[in-house]
C-alpha cells in the first residue's frame, strides 16, 4: 500500500501551446483531447481541443514548428503544479472534485479541466510506478489555499 504524498512541483517548466488543427504544431503534438503521453521525459497533455501543455522541459516545445496560427506561452510561473500520489489518491480527489476517478473513466494518462475545492484546475492522471498519481495544475495564487484543501482531504486517509 503506497502512502499518500502531496508534492509541490511548481518550478517544473511548463509550456502551453495553442495551435489550430491545420498547423504543423498540432500534427506534431497529436494525441486525442483528454489524453497525455510521456515523450523523452516530458509529459505532453492535450488539455483542450486546441491546447497542449508540455510539462518537464522546453526541449519538446523548442523542436516544434510554430508556423501558422500557433502560439507558445511559458506557464511555469502562472500554473502551480501539485502531484498527489498514493493508492488512495482517487479517494482524496473525490473529496475535492466531482470528476469520476474510476479507472475506466479516468485512466492513467487522462486529463480534464475541473473544479477542485472551488478553484479552476487541470488534472492529469500520471501514475508513478503503477501507483495512482494525479497532477493538479492551478493558478499559482491559490497555492496556499489549494494545498490546505488537499491536505485536509488527505487527513482521513493518512495511515489508512
Amino acid at each position: 500500500m503506497a502512502d499518500l504524498t502531496l508534492t509541490n512541483l511548481t518550478p517544473t517548466p511548463k509550456t502551453t501551446i495553442r495551435a489550430a488543427a491545420d498547423t504543423a504544431a498540432a500534427a506534431e503534438l497529436g494525441l486525442t483531447f483528454g489524453s497525455s503521453e510521456r515523450r523523452d521525459g516530458d509529459l505532453v497533455v492535450r488539455i483542450r481541443p486546441d491546447e497542449w501543455l508540455v510539462i518537464g522541459s522546453t526541449a519538446t516545445v523548442d523542436a516544434l514548428d510554430l508556423s501558422g496560427f500557433a502560439s507558445r506561452i511559458d506557464t511555469t510561473h502562472s500554473r502551480l503544479l501539485f502531484r498527489l500520489t498514493g493508492d488512495l489518491a482517487a479517494k482524496v480527489m473525490e473529496k475535492v472534485c466531482s470528476l469520476d476517478f474510476a479507472d475506466h473513466m479516468t485512466p492513467n494518462g487522462a486529463c480534464a479541466g475541473a473544479s477542485v475545492a472551488k478553484t479552476t484546475c487541470d488534472i492529469v492522471r500520471d501514475d508513478v510506478d503503477r501507483v495512482p498519481s494525479y497532477l493538479v495544475l492551478c493558478d499559482t495564487s491559490f497555492r496556499d489555499y489549494l494545498r490546505g484543501a488537499i491536505e485536509d482531504a488527505m487527513t482521513e486517509f493518512v495511515g489508512a
Binding site: 511548481t10 518550478p11 502551453t16 495553442r18 489550430a20 486525442t32 483531447f33 483528454g34 489524453s35 496560427f69 502560439s71 506561452i73 511559458d74 506557464t75 511555469t76 510561473h77 502562472s78 500554473r79 473525490e94 473529496k95 475535492v96 472534485c97 466531482s98 470528476l99 469520476d100 474510476a102 479507472d103 475506466h104 473513466m105 479516468t106 485512466p107 487522462a110 486529463c111 480534464a112 475545492a117 472551488k118 478553484t119 493558478d139 499559482t140 495564487s141 491559490f142 497555492r143 496556499d144 489555499y145 489549494l146 484543501a149 485536509d152 487527513t155 482521513e156
Partner: protein, 948 residues
C-alpha cells in the same frame, strides 16, 4: 433500569458496557447499543417530550428514526432524535421546549383553550392590526418548538465527497440487501444506504431465523464489495439520478454529505407503520406494533405491564408474541378490522390508563399497541417524477411508474414472505446492474478522457420482474373519535375536518393551512392519515384526494451537512510572505488577500509623492493575446481605436457590455509582432477573459487570436514617485529609461534585477512618474527585495492599497464598480473623447450613441466646502432644501497631499458644471455643501508629474 428484560438472543445492546447519562439532570444508566429512548424507557421514563402547540405529554410512539415524540436536547445540540441516536457515555439529555420542566409545563394551559387554537388560528387572529404584528411576533416566537442553539458551540467537522456508483440502494432491509448483492455480483459498483444503525430492516426484530438471514445477507454484501453506509439517509433524488446522501456514521466527521451520481437508483425503503387516529392516541403508552417489537427484541426493554393490542394485521400478532415473550400481560387483543372496535383511550399526565371499546366495555392497561396498516415511503420515487397509486384493497399507496433509471423493490412495492422479498430484491439488483452497464458504456464512450470502450453497447434490459403480491388489508385510518393526525405539528383530525369545512378542499391547501405533514417526519407517519381524513370529511375516496407532492429532503438534513467543508478560495501574490513579515494590515479584495497598508497610509502617500514607493499590484488581471487579429479584437472590445498601436506602445481603454454599461477598463501594451499584454481590473480578470472567449468562440470564430490568462504568472510591482526612474535604473541595464527613449504610455521588455523577460510600462494610476513592472512570478519576491535594498537612499518605502486609492483619487482616476455601477454607461465616466463613434463597431456602441443624446449622470470631482469633512462613500447628494436625490458620493478620502477632503461623485448633468454647489446628506443626517471641480484631478491636473 427497572424495565430491562433479561438478556435475549438477537438484542443489539452490549450489556457488558454500561453507559452513564443524565435525563433532565437525573443520573441514569444504559447499555452500549441503546438508543437514548430505549435507555430512558428501560429506566421507567414514560414522558419524553411535550407536544408543539398544546404541550401535551408525549411518550415513545414508533421507537425508530421517525418517532415524532422523542425529540430531545443533547448537550448543546438541539432536536436530536432520541429513538435513533445511540446512547453515549456522559450524555446530558434533556427535554426541550418545556417551561419550566417536562413534568410541570405551564404552556400546557394552551390545551385548556384548545378549542380556540384551531388550524389557522395565527392567520386569523394576528392579521390585524398590522402595526401590532412585531409585538405578536416576539411573543409567538417563545412558543416555537425546538431546542436551544448555543451560538458558541464549536463548529464540528462536516465533510463532503463525490461518488459515481453504478447503483445506489436506498434501504437495507432484506430486499435492499439482496438487490445490492445481486447488482454487485453482476459487476456493478454499489452503495447501500440504511438510515438505521444496522442493516436488516424488519428482520432485526423478527425471529431467530430472520436475524440469521440478515446477518448472512450482510456478510454476503460485504464479500461482494458493496459499500455499506449505515446511519445514513438518501435525502434526495435529483435530475439524472444525482443522489444526496447524509452520512452520520463517518469516523472523522460529524456528518458527511455524499453527492452521488448514480447510474441506477433502487428504492427499497420498506414500509412505515401508520399510527391510528382516535381520541387519546397521543397518550404516553400508545405505541405501534413495530415499536414494542423493537423495544423488546432489539433493546431488551419492557414497554409496559398490561397491554391492549389492536391487531388488524400480522404485525399485531407478532407484537402479541413479543409481549408474551417479555412477560407483558396482554389483557385484550382486538383482532377486528372494524374501526368502531376501539373508541378512545384515557389516562393521566404520564401514561395511558384505560381503553374504551366500541362495545361499551373498557380495559385497564398501561400500554396500547396499534397495528393498523402501512405507509409506503415513496418520496424518493416521487422526486423522480413518479406519482403513487392508492390500492384500497391493500389500504396503502404503491409506486406508479418511475423513470427507467429508478427501480423500487421490497415492501414498498408489495407484500410477501421473506424469501419472496429477497428474490424480488435480487431480480431488481440484476436489472439495475444491467441497465447501469448500458449507462456506463454510453458515458465512457462519450467522455473524452475515459478509456476506450470494449465491444458494442449492451442491450438495455427490460423490466421482467414478477410483482410482489399485495396482501388484503382493512382500511383503518380513524376511529369514530377524533385524535392526533400529525404528532409533530399537533394537528388533529378535528382540525382537518374544520379546514375542509372552511373550503380547503385540496390536500395541498390543507397541508399548508393546517401544517399537517410538515413536521420533522416529513409526512412519513402523517400523510396517508391526512389524506384519509380529508377524504372522509369531503365524502371522497382516498384515490380522488391523492397525495401531496414529496420534495427533498426525504428526512430533515442539518445545515452543517449541507454546508460540508467550507471551500472559500483565497489568492495571494508571490510577494505575500514579505508583506506578512513586515507588519502588513491585509484586506480581502474579492478572492485576493492584499496589503491594505503597513501602518500609516497617509505617510505612504507622502513618501511616494516625495521620494518613491513600491506597491504589489499582482492581482491586476493579465491576459496574453497572440495572433494576427488581436487589433481587431481590441477595437471590438474597447471604445477607442487600436488598429495603429505601434509595437512598444501602451493604450488605455474602456470596455462596455452590449448594453453600453462600463464592464472594465485597463491598459494594453503591444509587446511584439502579433503579441499583446492586456491588463484588467483586479476583480474583472475572469469576466473579461470570459467576455473575450465569448466573442472569439461565438461571434468572431474566424479571427485568429489566442488569449491566455497569466495574471499570477507575472508578479506586478508599481514603482511610483519622483525617484522611481532612478530606482529602476539601478536594477536594469538593458532598458533605456530616459524620458524620450521610454516615454509615458510605452512598454519595454528587458532584464530587471537579473531576471530576464520582465515587462515594464510607464503608466500613472497614482499620478506620479511611475513604472509598472511585470516579473515572472517565482522571481517576484526577489525583485521586490532588490528594489527595497537598492532604494534606501532614495527613500523607497512600500505602500498599500489604501495609499494607492488615495493617490488615484487625488489624481481623479475613477474605478470601475466604485465610481461606476451596474447602470453606468460609458459616457458617465466623462471619458467622451475615448468613445469613438466613428469606428465601425464596438461592443456597446449603439447603446452609448443613444445615451450620448440623453441625460445621463456624470462622474465629477467634488471638494467639500469644509475641508475637514469627509463624506462617507454613498452619501446622497440632494437638491438644496429638498429631499430630491440628484447624485451620490462614489469615492471620498482625506488627501494628505492637499490637506483636505476630496471626492468623486455621480451627479445628474444639471449639477455637473464646474463651480456648482452641491448639498451632501451625511450619514449623521446633517447636510454639508461641496463644490464641483473643473477637472477630475484634484492634484496635478496637467499631468506634469507623471509625464516627466
Amino acid at each position: 433500569m427497572k424495565n430491562r428484560l433479561p438478556s435475549r438472543a438477537g438484542e443489539q445492546i452490549d450489556r457488558s458496557t454500561i453507559l452513564s447519562f443524565t435525563w433532565n439532570g437525573k443520573k441514569l444508566e444504559g447499555f452500549a447499543g441503546d438508543t437514548i429512548a430505549s435507555a430512558l424507557v428501560a429506566n421507567g421514563v414514560t414522558v419524553l417530550s411535550r407536544s408543539m402547540k398544546y404541550h401535551r405529554p408525549r411518550g415513545l410512539l414508533t421507537a425508530d428514526y421517525w418517532d415524532p415524540n422523542a425529540t430531545v436536547q443533547v448537550g448543546d445540540e438541539p432536536n436530536v432524535r432520541a429513538a435513533h441516536r445511540r446512547l453515549e457515555d456522559g450524555m446530558v439529555v434533556s427535554a426541550q421546549n418545556v417551561s419550566p420542566s417536562l413534568r410541570f409545563d405551564v404552556k400546557a394551559a394552551n390545551g385548556l383553550v384548545g378549542r380556540f387554537l384551531t388550524a389557522g388560528f395565527y392567520y386569523k387572529t394576528f392579521m390585524k392590526p398590522a402595526a401590532l404584528w412585531p409585538r405578536y411576533e416576539k411573543i409567538l416566537a417563545t412558543f416555537a418548538p425546538g431546542g436551544k442553539v448555543d451560538l458558541n458551540t464549536p463548529h464540528g467537522y462536516h465533510d463532503k465527497r463525490y461518488a459515481h456508483p453504478d447503483v445506489v440502494v436506498a434501504g437495507a432491509g432484506p430486499a435492499g440487501l439482496a438487490a445490492a448483492i445481486a447488482a454487485a455480483a453482476d459487476g456493478a459498483s454499489v452503495m447501500l444506504v440504511e438510515h438505521e444503525h444496522e442493516v436488516g430492516g424488519h428482520l432485526l426484530w423478527g425471529t431467530d431465523d430472520d436475524r440469521a438471514t440478515a446477518a448472512a445477507l450482510r456478510a454476503e454484501a460485504e464479500a461482494a464489495g458493496v459499500e455499506i453506509l449505515t446511519n445514513s439517509t438518501v435525502t434526495g433524488r435529483y435530475e439524472d439520478n444525482w443522489v444526496a446522501i447524509a452520512q452520520r456514521s463517518h469516523p472523522m466527521a460529524v456528518e458527511r454529505l455524499i453527492k452521488a451520481r448514480a447510474k441506477m437508483l433502487i428504492v427499497a425503503a420498506g414500509t412505515i407503520e401508520r399510527p391510528y387516529v382516535f381520541a387519546g392516541n397521543d397518550l404516553p403508552g400508545v405505541m405501534t406494533s413495530g415499536a414494542v417489537q423493537r423495544l423488546i427484541r432489539m433493546y431488551g426493554v419492557k414497554p409496559g405491564t398490561r397491554a391492549v393490542v389492536l391487531a388488524a394485521n400480522d404485525s399485531g400478532a407478532a407484537a402479541v408474541a413479543a409481549l408474551d415473550d417479555a412477560g407483558v400481560d396482554v389483557a385484550r387483543v382486538i383482532g377486528s378490522g372494524d374501526r368502531a372496535a376501539l373508541v378512545k383511550a384515557t389516562g393521566s399526565s404520564t401514561r395511558i390508563r384505560k381503553v374504551h371499546m366500541g362495545d361499551g366495555t373498557t380495559e385497564n392497561c398501561d400500554l396500547l399497541v396499534t397495528a393498523v396498516g402501512w405507509t409506503a415511503p415513496t418520496s424518493l420515487l416521487n422526486m423522480a417524477g413518479d406519482r403513487p397509486v392508492y390500492d384500497p384493497s391493500a389500504a396503502r399507496f404503491f409506486p406508479g411508474t418511475p423513470p427507467d433509471n429508478v427501480l423500487a423493490t421490497g415492501g414498498i412495492t408489495g407484500d410477501g414472505t421473506r424469501d419472496q422479498l429477497i428474490e424480488h430484491g435480487r431480480a431488481t439488483g440484476r436489472l439495475a446492474a444491467g441497465r447501469a452497464a448500458v449507462v456506463c458504456h454510453r458515458l465512457q464512450a462519450s467522455t473524452a478522457r475515459a478509456a476506450s470502450v470494449d465491444g458494442a453497447e449492451p442491450s438495455y434490459p427490460a423490466d421482467e420482474r414478477a410483482a410482489l403480491p399485495r396482501a388484503p388489508h382493512p382500511e383503518m385510518f380513524r376511529a369514530a373519535t377524533h385524535g392526533i393526525v400529525d404528532y409533530s405539528e399537533d394537528v388533529s383530525s378535528k382540525d382537518l375536518f374544520g379546514a375542509a369545512a372552511e373550503g380547503f378542499d385540496s390536500v395541498e391547501l390543507i397541508k399548508r393551512f393546517t401544517t399537517a405533514t410538515m413536521g420533522p417526519s416529513q409526512g412519513k407517519l402523517e400523510t396517508v392519515n391526512t389524506v384519509a381524513v380529508l377524504a372522509e370529511a369531503r365524502g371522497e375516496t382516498i384515490a380522488e384526494v391523492g397525495t401531496t407532492v414529496w420534495r427533498p429532503p426525504y428526512a430533515p438534513i442539518t445545515l452543517g451537512a449541507l454546508g460540508g467543508r467550507v471551500f472559500e478560495p483565497v489568492r495571494v501574490s508571490a510577494i505575500q510572505p514579505w508583506h506578512e513579515a513586515n507588519g502588513v494590515t491585509p484586506i480581502l479584495a474579492g478572492q485576493w488577500i492584499r496589503p491594505e497598508h503597513y501602518g500609516d497610509p497617509a505617510e505612504e502617500v507622502r513618501n511616494t509623492r516625495t521620494n518613491v514607493g513600491i506597491t504589489d499590484v499582482t492581482p491586476l488581471g493579465k491576459l496574453d493575446l497572440q495572433g494576427p487579429d488581436v487589433p481587431k479584437l481590441l477595437s471590438l472590445l474597447y471604445t477607442n481605436k487600436w488598429m495603429q498601436l505601434p509595437v512598444g506602445g501602451v493604450r488605455y481603454g474602456i470596455m462596455c457590455a452590449e448594453d453600453g454599461v462600463v464592464l472594465d477598463d485597463g491598459v494594453t501594451g503591444h509587446l511584439g509582432d502579433d503579441h499583446y499584454l492586456m491588463t484588467t481590473t483586479s476583480s474583472g480578470a475572469a469576466t473579461v477573459w470570459n467576455w473575450i472567449e465569448m466573442w472569439l468562440q461565438t461571434e468572431r470564430p474566424e479571427w485568429q487570436v489566442h488569449v491566455t490568462p497569466i495574471t499570477t504568472g507575472l508578479a506586478s510591482i508599481n514603482i511610483a514617485g519622483p525617484n522611481s526612474r532612478a530606482l529602476l535604473g539601478r536594477l536594469t541595464d538593458d532598458i533605456d529609461l530616459g524620458p524620450e527613449a521610454f516615454a509615458y504610455m510605452q512598454v519595454r521588455t528587458g532584464t530587471i534585477a537579473g531576471i530576464d523577460d520582465c515587462i515594464t510600462w510607464r503608466i500613472g494610476f497614482t499620478g506620479e512618474l511611475s513604472y509598472e513592472i511585470h516579473v515572472p512570478s517565482q522571481h517576484g519576491l526577489h525583485v521586490w527585495n532588490q528594489l527595497l535594498e537598492h532604494g534606501v537612499d532614495l527613500g523607497v518605502q512600500p505602500f498599500g492599497l489604501e495609499a494607492q486609492r488615495i493617490m488615484r483619487l487625488e489624481k481623479g482616476h475613477f474605478i470601475v464598480g466604485q465610481d461606476t455601477d451596474g447602470l453606468s454607461k460609458a459616457p458617465t465616466t466623462g471619458m467622451i473623447p475615448l468613445l469613438k463613434l466613428d469606428k465601425d463597431d464596438w461592443a456597446g456602441k449603439p447603446e452609448v450613441a443613444w445615451v450620448l443624446d440623453d441625460d445621463y449622470p456624470v462622474v465629477v470631482a467634488v471638494q467639500p466646502t469644509d475641508p475637514t469633512v469627509v463624506p462617507e462613500e454613498a452619501c446622497q447628494i440632494l437638491r438644496a432644501d429638498t429631499i430630491d436625490i440628484v447624485g451620490r458620493i462614489t469615492s471620498s478620502r482625506f488627501s494628505p497631499t492637499l490637506g483636505r477632503s476630496i471626492c468623486l461623485a455621480q451627479v445628474s448633468q444639471e449639477f455637473s458644471e464646474p463651480g456648482t454647489e452641491l448639498t451632501v446628506l451625511l450619514v449623521n443626517g446633517t447636510r454639508t455643501t461641496a463644490r464641483v471641480m473643473e477637472h477630475h484631478a484634484h492634484f496635478d491636473p496637467e499631468g506634469t508629474r507623471l509625464r516627466g
